[in-house]
Symmetry: C2
Subunit: 284 residues, 2 copies
């Protein structure tokens, strides 16, 4: 069932709760692919009722980013959800979520702001304000749907860690379920932004996953010095790659690591053909 209004969603959820049913939420920006599908499947398996939100959230896009051209495929998304056991697809418009346009700045809107320590690195460094927008919209969705469980992909690992931190810090009564990265057969991590890649770009894009797999294999062979592990990346990079970061951080609190261990996560961001791609791997 496709719903656009907050009050309609609340009405249904209230009814479910009365019946003692558990509720899962999969927050998305639409353009659903197999990565999302894996979250949906996990949610349907775990919860009596599943809500998938489809909302391209303007306040998490920075100036110059792809808000306008971000792929929007609601009809197809709704069908995919309904075919896979989702009870409600919640697709509000921007006014339903934020009221009038002039209300969307922090002059006029209450924001949920993740800690600077978690934000001032990886994607947060180049995408100023991005995670403020993410936390604010996810907080709103949690309040609208009041799910027992919410499902997030490990593909956006910094986002997942920041959301978990928000839930802890604000005592939000929801359990966050992390879901593993889904990859194309080639190894490329699924992303709605892969649609921007040419066939040739897609080949160059494989470097990200190759770098991470190689680092993990070096780590497993006993190399734990982060500088040495970083060095191993360069053999996979050429003029088609614009590396933004390659970082080794504690997977729970994003603390910097100089010697890799089993709780280290390696994060990479790289532009290929003008498209910004991210990937990550857990060493443990």
């Amino acid at each position: 069932m496709l719903l656009h209004k907050i009050e309609e969603v609340r009405k249904h959820v209230k009814e479910w709760k009365k019946q003692g049913l558990s509720v899962g939420l999969v927050p998305t920006m639409g353009a659903l692919h197999d990565g999302h599908l894996s979250l949906i499947e996990k949610a349907v398996e775990k919860c009596d009722k599943v809500v998938v939100s489809v909302f391209v959230n303007p306040i998490q896009f920075c100036p110059g980013e792809d808000f306008d051209k971000y792929p929007r495929t609601l009809e197809q998304d709704t069908k995919l959800c309904e075919d896979n056991g989702v009870s409600i697809v919640f697709a509000p418009n921007t006014t339903e979520m934020y009221g009038e346009v002039q209300m969307r700045s922090n002059d006029f809107l209450t924001y949920v702001i993740p800690p600077f320590f978690y934000v001032n690195k990886l994607c947060g460094k180049s995408r100023i304000g991005h995670f403020d927008g993410v936390c604010t919209v996810v907080n709103k969705l949690f309040n609208i749907v009041q799910p027992d469980y919410a499902f997030f992909g490990e593909k956006d690992a910094q986002q997942l860690i920041i959301i978990k931190k928000m839930v802890d810090d604000l005592n939000i009564p929801v359990k966050i379920i992390p879901c593993p990265i889904v990859r194309e057969d080639s190894g490329l991590a699924m992303s709605s932004r892969n649609k921007y890649l040419s066939d040739e770009d897609k080949i160059h894009a494989l470097a990200l996953n190759k770098i991470l797999k190689n680092i993990k294999s070096c780590y497993q062979k006993g190399i734990n010095d982060v500088d040495a592990l970083k060095e191993t990346a360069y053999e996979f990079l050429d003029e088609h790659h614009d590396l933004e970061y390659l970082e080794f951080l504690n997977s729970d609190n994003l603390d910097e690591v100089t010697k890799a261990d089993n709780n280290t996560r390696v994060f990479i961001a790289c532009k290929v053909g003008g498209v910004r791609l991210i990937d990550n791997i857990y060493l443990g």
Copy 2:
């Protein structure tokens, strides 16, 4: 029943919700007086179960403010609550609410930040970060108790308006119930900080309410020019008063007003004997 742990409160509330009972929350910093009691009475009247939180919230005090000497009277507060039909007094310690000390800055803690337009005036102008601390702790309490209704006094009118804005902006599923200011027979607005006043200070402190009542009476006689109405305050002020602000704002959105109308609220803050006092009046 006095509880100190978040999980204990959740357990009781969960049980109540299962039974279909409505839950009210009265957030306080303790040192309960007749003002709080009026909130509690309203809550007990409206809700099946009432939780009163007693927590002197460190992150809403600015450097140099009275966090350490803020009155703490938990035993007396608990008795007052229990005598008046409150089901749970929730008095967590600071570690229960925020974890370890070093976690309380915005470097390490997720904050809920009210809009600059609502904060950059009245008390927010001198108490930098105060309302960030208020919104963050109230958001946490809402998530812990999940009340149907929450009760706030109009004494702290800017706080009430900011909390309402937070609830709207973040779609928090709670209804905010404003409660009128309770005054001593003299007209002095009840406040936990009145304990800091000497008998002589208390007489000088009456100026705040006199100024507001006089303004309302002038308004009702047809004067609506804000400058003219402000002028009327000076006859009540002398060397015992250190006026911080006297402002006329829209009572819903804190927009500045030059001609007073029925939706205008007049706000005053003034130090008397070194104690910062606030009061306000609605002209409509």
